[in-house]
Structures are given as structure tokens and as C-alpha cells.
């Protein structure tokens, strides 16, 4: 359904060129949800924005395939099918606009509804996210964080999209509200037959809503597989460190921790070879010369690493 082919994005920051996303390939099928995980600066938000059509890729193409037609990324058709929910709900709603107006915009401009039908459609949209019609005249600042995010979700759903890009939608919310919003998203996933591209740094949230997971590091996808595969046996050395670092309730004596050493590579420095070489416990000469490509190593599983599959699988989850 959604095809991302060799997409790169770079921009200038003073003298440096920042390579936020490097030659990423990704395919999302209808009804399937993918989690995009990684730490600060890995490029996941940028990739999300590229897919949502907010940014234009410097290289590569993004296309939405529907009934045999290729819909290019900067068309109204695309906007109707791919929508986005942002991280800070208070910021993503125009403070001067009432809730009803915010939801009416996509109904008018993307669905082309005549003005007479807008009010009914807005009410429908509000009910779908668990808000009642009286919210239509409220202003965003009078709403709680959770309510604001519901409005943002209603706006995203208004055009009837097939894919929703969610950029850390619950990270800035209170923990109790987080679980409620996640439940809403989970219900909508099945009732509206939606696909999600769920960007998050929180693996537990991704586990709840997604079937597949893509792990990003330094602008590239370094592992892509089903979630069960990733959580039970991560292959890429970075994935191993990432999963090992997530705190788990430990009742017994302290376990020896093998923390990842060093700092993440700054995206403005481009180096030869694998971007993980300075921190990888398994680094060898080939890693410094040649950047590994994302290759299929198992059914439904790709890893970008020079180490052979058997070695990666053998070293176990904690690396």
C-alpha cells in the first residue's frame, strides 16, 4: 500500500549538511501497523514527516498504491489517505480555532463536503473518538491534554485515511491518560481498518499496537521484523543494546549491565562504513569500509549488519 523507496533527506545547518534520513526502504501493507523505534536523533520523526508529506525527500520516492494507481506524495489524494497525529496535542491545534472548525477543515478541503453536511460530520467525528458533540464549540486551551489529542485524532480521521502516521502521540501525556488514548487507538485500528506508522521511543507502547517493528539508527533502518521476533531475539547489535537497556522489574540481586558505550553519531558527520562502528561490540574491518545494507535474513526479517545471521542469532538478546 505505501512504498518508500531509497528515500533520503538532508538539509543545511550552517556549514554542515545533516543527513537526517539515508536511503530508507519501507513498505506498509493495508491493515498492518509498523512501529518505528529509535532514540533521539535517529531520524524517525523526519521519516514520519516525509511519509506524511510535510517534508519533501531529497532523494527517492514515496508512493501510495491504491487499486493499481500510484498516488504521488504531494497530491490532495495522498493527503486524504495518509494523515498524521503529532506529539504535542496542545501545539497541534490552532489556539484561535474552535474544535469544530479544526475538524471541519479536512472535511471541507479533503473530502469536499458541502457546508450543509459539515456539522453532522463533525459530530460523528467527535463521537468516534469518545467526545460528545458539545466539544465542537470549545477552544483547545480549555481542554485537557487527553481531550486535545482526541480532537487531533478526530481531525486526522476526518478524511477517511488508510494510513495514520503517529509521532509519539502519547509521550507528552500523563501516564493514566496515555493508556486511555492507546486504548482508543487500538479500538480505532480495528473498527476503521487503519494502518499505523507508530513512531515512539517507548517499546512497550509499540508492542501494544503494532505487528511489525523497524529500528532506526543514525538515519537508517537497521532492523525490520515482526514484533515477536524483535522482542524475543533481536539480531542487530544496536537492537540488542536497546532492548537490554529498557528497565525491567528486577526483584532479585542486581544483574550485570552491559551498557552501550559512547555517544550516538551526530547526523552531520558522515563517515565511511557502518554508522554503528564506533559503538559496536562486534566491529571488524569490513564495518569501517562498507556500510551494510538492509538484507532479508529470515522470512519477514531484515537486518543491516555485516555479521552473518548465525552469529547474530547466537549471541543472544543481551549482546
Amino acid at each position: 500500500m505505501l512504498h518508500v523507496d531509497q528515500v533520503s533527506y538532508s538539509y543545511h545547518q550552517g556549514k554542515h549538511v545533516v543527513q537526517a534520513v539515508q536511503k530508507v526502504d519501507l513498505h506498509i501493507i493495508q491493515g498492518e501497523s509498523i512501529g518505528l523505534v529509535g532514540e533521539s536523533g535517529c531520524g524517525k520523526t523526519t521519516l514520519g514527516r516525509l511519509i506524511a508529506g510535510i517534508l519533501a525527500p531529497s532523494e527517492g520516492t514515496i508512493q501510495f498504491l491504491d487499486a493499481g494507481r500510484d498516488i504521488p506524495v504531494n497530491s490532495t489524494e495522498y493527503r486524504r489517505r495518509v494523515q498524521m497525529v503529532f506529539q504535542h496535542p496542545g501545539q497541534s491545534l490552532n489556539p484561535r480555532y474552535r474544535v469544530g472548525q479544526t475538524i471541519a477543515d479536512p472535511l471541507r478541503f479533503l473530502r469536499g463536503l458541502p457546508l450543509s453536511e459539515i456539522d453532522v460530520a463533525v459530530e460523528q467525528g467527535l463521537r468516534r473518538v469518545g467526545l460528545d458533540a458539545s466539544f465542537s464549540i470549545r477552544r483547545p486551551l480549555s481542554l485537557s491534554g487527553g481531550q486535545q489529542q482526541r480532537v487531533a485524532i478526530a481531525r486526522a480521521l476526518a478524511s477517511g485515511p488508510g494510513l495514520l502516521v503517529l509521532d509519539e502521540p502519547t509521550s507528552s501525556l500523563d501516564p493514566t491518560i496515555q493508556s486511555r488514548i492507546l486504548r482508543l487507538l487500538s479500538d480505532l485500528q480495528s473498527s476503521q481498518n487503519l494502518s499505523y506508522l507508530f513512531i515512539s521511543h517507548d517499546l512497550s507502547v509499540v508492542e501494544r499496537l503494532c505487528q511489525r517493528v523497524a529500528v532506526m539508527y543514525a538515519g537508517q533502518i537497521i532492523e525490520l521484523c515482526d514484533k515477536e521476533q524483535l522482542f524475543s531475539n533481536p539480531l542487530h547489535p544496536y537492537s540488542k543494546s536497546l532492548l537490554a537497556a529498557v528497565p525491567k522489574l528486577n526483584v532479585g540481586p542486581k544483574k550485570k549491565r552491559v551498557a552501550l558505550r559512547g555517544e550516538a553519531l551526530s547526523l552531520s558527520e558522515s563517515i565511511k562504513g557502518c554508522s554503528f562502528q564506533s559503538r559496536c561490540p562486534f566491529v571488524h574491518d569490513r564495518c569501517r569500509d562498507e556500510a551494510p545494507k538492509l538484507d532479508l535474513v529470515e522470512s519477514r526479517r531484515s537486518v543491516a549488519c555485516h555479521l552473518p545471521y548465525d552469529e547474530l542469532a547466537a549471541t543472544g538478546p543481551r549482546g
Binding site: R49, A52, G53, I54, T76, R79, Q83, M84, F86, Q87, H88, Q91, S92, L93, N94, P95, R96, Y97, T102, D105, P106, R108, F109, L110, A152, R155, A156, A158, S159
Partner: protein, 278 residues
């Protein structure tokens, strides 16, 4: 009836709460404007010359005295209110509308347009407003219209800068991107979504600009640029009456001068108070 009155009364009280200076000044200026429109109907024609009554000191018959030509200074001052205040307000409003629109487009589009606009603004700002007005007048001709144009031009850069910086901040916020994603065209995003959120500081700036505009127009008139005698205008009156001070006839220049100060001060205080209460 009394319920509605009570409601209005309490609304006024609430709006005035803590902002007494603002309340006083706005009321005074409004009164001044009203006076400027209504009172001339009852007063002597400001252009009436009455040579026998020249240089009468301020007295009950002529509150501000009479000038060289026997014209009543008071009625001239009052009839000038309309001219000066309207000139000040319209220059300010025009500069705001044009400057805000340019700043909005420039900040939103960025790139080459933005750079060109910034260069243009820098050039305009390099000239002291006064000098700019003189140059425009020298080139285009000495008339009220051109002078107003020149003064407006000298204030436009402030609004461009102000709006542009507001737009640069708003542009980063996700509601702007969300508006694009909802299908709004670039124009709608700029004018319907962003503009209401950046226009606040411009409105405040407009009140300050109004006060500067009044001063500018009066000063230029004093120099003989733009509004000229025999039109009753405060700056003109100060110019004409300036030489009278030496012969001891202070009222022909001091009163109009005081009106300029009062009007300009009024707008300035309003602008200040609005800024402080932000």
C-alpha cells in the same frame, strides 16, 4: 433594564481592573475625537480672520487667545483635531495592514522572497523617517498626499519585522503543519491560521506608530512640508506662531504644541499599557 446596565457596568469594571491608566487615556482620546468632530459645529470658522482682534490674550471670549490674523486659536486647535488624529490613525492603520501582509508572506515563504524583503526593509530602516519623508516629497512633490505616503512608508518596516518574527515562531508549531495536512492551501494557512496568532503585537505597535505619525506630520508641517497654511493643523500653527514668542505672544504656538504632545502621549500610553498587560 437595570440588569443590563448592571451587566455593562460590571463588564466595564472588570476590563478596567488594574489598568486605570489605560482606561483614563483611552477615554480621553475618545473624548478628544468626539470633541474634534462635534465642537467645530458650534465654533467660529477657523479661517475667519479678524485683524482688529489680533493678538488677544487668552480670555473667556477666546480661550486660547487669537493669533496674528485675529483667528481664534482655540477653534483652530479644535478643528485641527480631526485632521491630525485622522492622519495619525490612518497612516498607522495603512502601515500596519501593508507591513503585516508583507511580513506574513515573507516569513511564511522564506527563501529568496524573504531575503529580498529583508534587504528592502533594511534599506528603509537605514533612513531616519524624517529624512525619508523629505526625500519622497522632494522627488514626488509637496502635497498632503505624498507626505502621508512618505510617512506611511517609513513605518512599514516595523510591521514587516514584527510580523515576520512572529510568523517564524508560529511556522515551527505543529498546528501549521496540521493545517496543511488538513488540505488548507498555503494562502489559507498564512492568512487564516497564522495571522490571528501573530497580529497581537502589531496592533499594539500600531498605537505607538499612531503617536509617532502625529508627531511626524506635525514636525514636517512645521518645516513647511506637506500640510501648509492656512490649513489649521497643529504643526502649521506652531510654525506660524514660533516667531511670536519673541514678542511675548506665547499662546499662538504653545497651545497647538501642547495638543500635539497630548495626542501623541495619549496613543503612546495606550500602546505601552497594552504591551504591559500582555
Amino acid at each position: 433594564m437595570s440588569n443590563k446596565v448592571k451587566a455593562i457596568y460590571s463588564w466595564i469594571k472588570e476590563t478596567i481592573r488594574g489598568r486605570h491608566l489605560l482606561a483614563i487615556t483611552s477615554t480621553s482620546l475618545t473624548l478628544l475625537l468626539l470633541v474634534g468632530f462635534l465642537l467645530p459645529l458650534f465654533l467660529a470658522d477657523p479661517r475667519d480672520t479678524n485683524p482688529e482682534n489680533s493678538y488677544l490674550s487668552p480670555a473667556l471670549g477666546n480661550l486660547f487667545g487669537t493669533d496674528k490674523f485675529g483667528r481664534d486659536v482655540f477653534s483652530r486647535c479644535i478643528s485641527a483635531i480631526r485632521l491630525d488624529l485622522l492622519v495619525g490613525i490612518s497612516i498607522s492603520a495603512l502601515a500596519m495592514v501593508i507591513g503585516t501582509a508583507i511580513g506574513l508572506i515573507s516569513g511564511y515563504r522564506g527563501g529568496l522572497i524573504d531575503r529580498l524583503v529583508m534587504q528592502f526593509t533594511d534599506v528603509l530602516l537605514a533612513f531616519p523617517g524624517f529624512l525619508l519623508s523629505l526625500i519622497v516629497v522632494a522627488v514626488l512633490g509637496n502635497s498632503v498626499f505624498f507626505v502621508m505616503l512618505a510617512v506611511t512608508l517609513s513605518f512599514i518596516p516595523y510591521f514587516i519585522r514584527l510580523t515576520r518574527s512572529g510568523v517564524l515562531v508560529q511556522r515551527q508549531l505543529s498546528y501549521v503543519q496540521a493545517a496543511r495536512m488538513s488540505g488548507n492551501s498555503s494562502w489559507r494557512v498564512a492568512f487564516v491560521h497564522i495571522l490571528p496568532n501573530v497580529v497581537g503585537p502589531s496592533i499594539i505597535q500600531a498605537t505607538l506608530v499612531a503617536s509617532w505619525a502625529i508627531l511626524s506630520v506635525a514636525s514636517l508641517a512645521f518645516l513647511g512640508v506637506g500640510i501648509r497654511p492656512p490649513t489649521a493643523e497643529w504643526g502649521v500653527m506652531v510654525a506660524e506662531g514660533a516667531s511670536d514668542i519673541i514678542i511675548g505672544k506665547w499662546w499662538t504656538s504653545i497651545f497647538p504644541g501642547a495638543m500635539v504632545v497630548l495626542a501623541a502621549l495619549g496613543f503612546h500610553i495606550i500602546g505601552d499599557e497594552l504591551q504591559a498587560s500582555q
